[in-house]
């Protein structure tokens, strides 16, 4: 097999993208999921529907709107271009923003359901033991929601690894900047370089499977059961 043609840059770029995206998603997703689990507001269903949109929309639709918003004339890209000289479309930062939106339901939904399963009871108990709301969240609700966090992290990471449409629309295909594994595979197949396509596809397949296997194993063995 000839490896001289093999470029590892897309792999590192993909891992970096997925890693940063997941961190952002946990920071953004936790308060959203918490709010969804505890609010009685009528806005709840609207927020739930909005968060779930990326699940049903074709990635090209989301990609199209993002391309416009992040581009030099866009409401987000415009001000950024004025400040820094370049817009967000076809940049790594743009990719992060797009991936965060695209993978949002995969993080919010598992967190939302664990927070609901944990419920208000342990929180009330913690408050009655002098824990402030923030304290109770950190020392009681979060450890009890550990399973949800693991699931959310893995799904968010794996889903970002596998995205194609949005990345292509928003990031284009710039080597070392926005060319991630899924796009590299597409390129190789287009030029009939099946060996490289095999290595990347097989690698992604194996990696995703192992990650999911690990998560399900950990979840099963986790000592905390919320009843």
């Amino acid at each position: 097999m000839d490896f001289s043609n093999f470029d590892s840059a897309p792999i590192w770029l993909t891992l970096k993208l997925a890693g940063i995206t997941v961190l952002l998603l946990l920071m953004v997703g936790t308060p959203i999921a918490w709010w969804l689990a505890h609010t009685r507001s009528r806005l709840r269903v609207f927020v739930e529907a909005t968060v779930a949109l990326p699940l049903v929309l074709p990635p090209t639709v989301l990609g199209f709107y993002l391309l416009i918003a992040l581009g030099p004339e866009g409401w987000l890209g415009g001000p950024v271009k004025a400040a820094t000289g370049s817009a967000l479309s076809f940049t790594f930062t743009g990719l992060i923003i797009a991936s965060t939106l695209y993978s949002l339901p995969f993080v919010v939904q598992p967190l939302h359901s664990t927070f609901e399963a944990v419920g208000k009871t342990p929180l009330e108990t913690a408050w009655s033991l002098r824990a402030s709301r923030w304290d109770a969240f950190l020392t009681v609700a979060s450890p009890l929601a550990l399973r949800g966090y693991i699931t959310a992290t893995v799904l968010g990471f794996a889903h970002t690894l596998g995205e194609f449409g949005v990345v292509l629309m928003v990031g284009g295909n710039i080597p070392g900047k926005t060319k991630v594994i899924s796009i590299e595979i597409y390129d190789r197949v287009e030029v009939l370089e099946y060996t490289e396509a095999h290595i990347l596809s097989g690698g992604l397949l194996l990696f995703s499977f192992l990650v999911l296997l690990t998560v399900y194993t950990i979840n099963r063995r986790l000592p905390i059961h919320v009843t």
Partner: protein, 362 residues
């Protein structure tokens, strides 16, 4: 100020709680009433878990809630201990960490109750390093009580803490709760359905029905109100007496107790002379005789009484409750036919024949 005031007005769909309460800051106050009467809601309002839109609550000199001024002290800033029906231990922490969860969160100078005290009084030393998952129901509930105590609360709120336990476990924990009282003098507000628990614990009784306070006061007074018929279980309608042991009659297997100048015989008790014993006399176990007692009766416990009040007569029923004064109130349930035959009227001197007595040691 030694009392605390709690006025609440809360509405939920299909339910309205409206209370104006003055609760003594000592002893055990039992909240009693049928399910759905608002006991738990009231307790949650007292704890601050529920915010009544028109609420006023003052604990001693401290205002915990005054909606006219927008004051509402959040749960975690109130010096209360809460014990629920279920133990609600944190599953991810050991028993020791559960016990210390609240303790670590109060300022050092406010700590009056320490791990060793609680472990000893609740007998949980052997459980400290276990996970809550491996505790029995009674053990877990003792830990939950200990955890609440370790916040050195100024008020302990307990919502049917023994309801999920069987009779034996209840008997195991009840003395501990009583002991907390004598050891630290923490006032307790206690929700219960069970006569047994009430008799062993109660000092002050608050009766709730459909979100309203029907009666409140010392248990011995509240318990014998005629209005309780239909509110409390008819099997426990009766009077409570606090008595003292004066003499044992081992040859007959009896013990004599005294209250307000009267003497009663009860089954032999393992109690010292002078020890207090609480009695419950069920209204169905009291009959009324208009002639003075003679030796031709097997009933030992006969008290001179005055008829105070004849209860309302239900034309569909056959019985009527009579309120008697024996120095304290005693209730008797007799048939409507007997009421007519004896022509009982308020002020009349009668004799109350007591056929059975239930006892509780303090």
């Amino acid at each position: 100020m030694n009392d605390f005031f709690a006025n609440f007005d809360v509405s939920f769909p299909g339910f309205h709680l409206q209370t104006r309460l003055t609760i003594p800051k000592s002893g055990v106050t039992v909240l009693f009433g049928p399910s759905g009467s608002g006991k738990t809601t009231l307790l949650r309002c007292l704890a601050g878990l529920e915010r009544s839109p028109k609420g006023l609550m003052q604990f001693g000199d401290t205002v915990w809630q005054d909606e006219t001024q927008g004051i509402f002290v959040p749960v975690h800033e109130r010096p209360i201990g809460l014990v629920f029906q279920e133990p609600r231990l944190f599953p991810h922490l050991s028993v020791r960490s559960n016990l210390l969860y609240g303790f670590k969160r109060i300022p050092v100078q406010e700590r009056r109750i320490f791990l060793n005290d609680v472990v000893e009084i609740l007998n949980i030393a052997h459980l400290l390093d276990r996970r809550p998952h491996f505790l029995s129901g009674g053990e877990a509930q003792r830990v939950a009580i200990g955890r609440a105590l370790l916040t050195s609360p100024k008020l302990l709120l307990m919502d049917e803490p023994l309801a999920s336990l069987d009779h034996q476990r209840k008997q195991e924990i009840l003395p501990y709760i009583r002991r907390l009282q004598s050891k630290w003098g923490i006032p307790i507000i206690y929700i219960s359905h069970s006569l047994e628990e009430i008799l062993q614990l109660v000092d002050t009784l608050i009766l709730l029905k459909a979100g309203r306070v029907v009666a409140e006061g010392p248990a011995t007074e509240v318990f014998s109100k005629l209005e309780l018929r239909g509110i409390i279980n008819s099997e426990i309608l009766g009077a409570i007496f606090d008595t003292r042991v004066i003499q044992h009659e081992p040859e007959f297997g009896l013990t004599r107790v005294q209250f307000m100048g009267h003497q009663l015989h009860v089954p032999g008790q393992e109690a010292k002379i002078g020890q207090s014993i609480r009695l419950h006399i069920h209204s169905n176990d009291v009959s009324i005789v208009t002639s003075p007692p003679d030796s031709r009766t097997s009933v030992l416990n006969i008290l001179e009484a005055t008829v105070m009040e004849v209860g309302s007569i239900d034309p569909a029923g056959y019985s009527v409750d009579i309120k008697l004064d024996v120095g304290q109130t005693l209730l008797a349930t007799i048939t409507r036919k007997s009421l007519k035959n004896l022509a009982l009227e308020p002020g009349q001197k009668v004799y109350a024949h007591i056929k059975a007595i239930k006892m509780v040691h303090e």
